[in-house]
Amino acid sequence: MGARGSAMSHLVKTLDEALAPITDGCTLVVPREVSGVPMAATRALIRRGVKRLHLVALPTSSLQADLLIGAGCVETLETSAVSLGEFGPAPRFSAAVTGGSIAMKDATCPALHAALQAAEKGVPFMPLRGLIGSDILKYRPDWKVIDSPFGQDSNKADPIVLLPAIKPDVALFHAAMADRLGNVWIGRQRELATMAHAAVRTVATVEKMHDGNLLDDPVLAAGTLPGFYVESIAIAERGAWPLPLPDYYAADAEHLALYARMAATAEGFAEYLDKYVYEKQAA
């Protein structure tokens, strides 16, 4: 593994370099609030001015989607919900949907998990129970209903929804640590592995580098995404701030409340961007 090992250390890059695979117009999948949201990376993408993202939030999002939408980076959004949780609705998301400035692909949580798993398994679709009779299904012409060939009663159709695989160009998330071989410790957040398996490329930010090979210790290996799937890594301390990195740090409730207040208006949101996103670049 010597040659591979030395080649792999080039994976660790500056934040901006690591984010290079996320190009204008690409399909980007990001995780839910408790699974390691790459907020430092999100601010860097906004500073770079990424455009026309097809954002897939697995299966929901909060501040991250709201910021990207407010900053004009998103063309379509596929997700099951965007909300600031106890801090209220996601104001830029709501404004963009009612204002018609983004295209919505409304889903339901397990449908997004299943569609990513389809790409992970290299199959064109996954079936899912539920959905039939909902308006979610009605507005998703890309989802198909078939009569299951395994229906119990041959006299009655057994309709079931098939969801096409979602194969993102890039998966982006934040995690506790990585090693120089590109292995990333993701713990119980198994959907991060599914995202990486499903996506063409994976970019991770991490709190810190781990000395040695995460796969050498069976206990750490159990929670590790192999570097085989990883394109680039950047160190971003407190890289989920102001969102939490569960088991490591809590959400910054005060800042989230501030965001909810400022982002309630377009002007306030612009001020927030100036102060908390663009300022970082100047610093």
């Binding site: 965007v82 106890e86 909902s134 119980r188 957040q189 198994r190 959907e191 599914t194």
Partner: protein
């Protein structure tokens, strides 16, 4: 014994939960959480209670899909849903008001409702605001339907709707007024409900929580709740941070 609205609602919900194996409660649902923990105390450890959003009260190690897989396996018996709108057919709307393509109001989204509503045997709808704005004849967007055609695979669905005014049961595609909470009236319920519903000639009053129930909630449930909902536990039950030590 005096009691608070929250205590009455939790008691109502605990009775709806009944004798089951596993109750899962979504994020930001302190009253259903109180009810689930109360049911567990009464059942001496049964049902198993998962409080989503609390790593201490959930067991998931397979990522975000595990809750839904678990429901698909038939391993979640009770779940709670709500809606920006709920209609008389049991349909819930978590998406938008107005035309979907050009909505007047946008809600967060459907979350897992379009799956869980079909596969969790007892879904309890819970919406404290009981008004013609929230309880409508027909929702503008069906995040998940209250009932399905007979050949659609469905092992679950709504069994009841609990509001700040009353308890409705749900069966055969319709709500039925089961009881009106103390201090409220049938007329008030009719006036504030946008959909038709069945009702018996005499609508009973929702029974007040028994002194034993109140004691259990305040002394045993509240300290457990305080770990997940400290503000709620303090406000409703006067349980402070000290309870964490228990």
């Amino acid at each position: 014994m005096n009691f608070r609205d929250e205590e009455l609602l939790a008691d109502v919900i605990a009775r709806l939960i009944g004798d089951v194996r596993h109750v899962a409660v979504g994020n930001a649902s302190p009253i259903p959480a109180t009810a689930a923990l109360l049911a567990r105390e009464r059942g001496h450890g049964r049902p198993y209670v998962s409080l989503l959003g609390s790593p201490k009260h959930t067991f998931w190690t397979d990522g975000g899909r595990e809750l839904f897989d678990c429901a698909g396996q038939g391993r979640i018996d009770v779940f709670f849903l709500s809606g920006g709108q709920i209609d008389g057919h049991g349909n819930i709307n978590l998406v938008s008001i107005g035309d979907y393509a050009h909505p007047k109001v946008r809600f967060p989204g459907s979350f897992g409702s379009a799956h869980l509503y079909y596969v969790v045997p007892k879904v309890i709808l819970f919406r404290t605001e009981h008004s013609r704005r929230t309880l409508v004849p027909d929702v503008d967007f069906i995040s998940a339907p209250g009932a399905s055609e007979p050949n659609v695979f469905r092992t679950g669905g709504p069994i009841a709707l609990v509001t700040n005014r009353c308890l409705f049961s749900f069966a055969d595609g319709r709500f039925r007024l089961e009881s009106v909470h103390p201090g409220h009236t049938v007329e008030e319920v009719v006036e504030n409900t946008g959909f038709d519903f069945e009702r018996p000639a005499q609508v009973p009053e929702t029974p007040a929580p028994s002194p034993e129930t109140l004691t259990l909630m305040r002394e045993t449930v509240a300290p457990q709740l305080a770990e997940v909902y400290p503000q709620f536990a303090a406000q409703v039950f006067g349980v402070g941070q000290a309870a964490f030590a228990r």
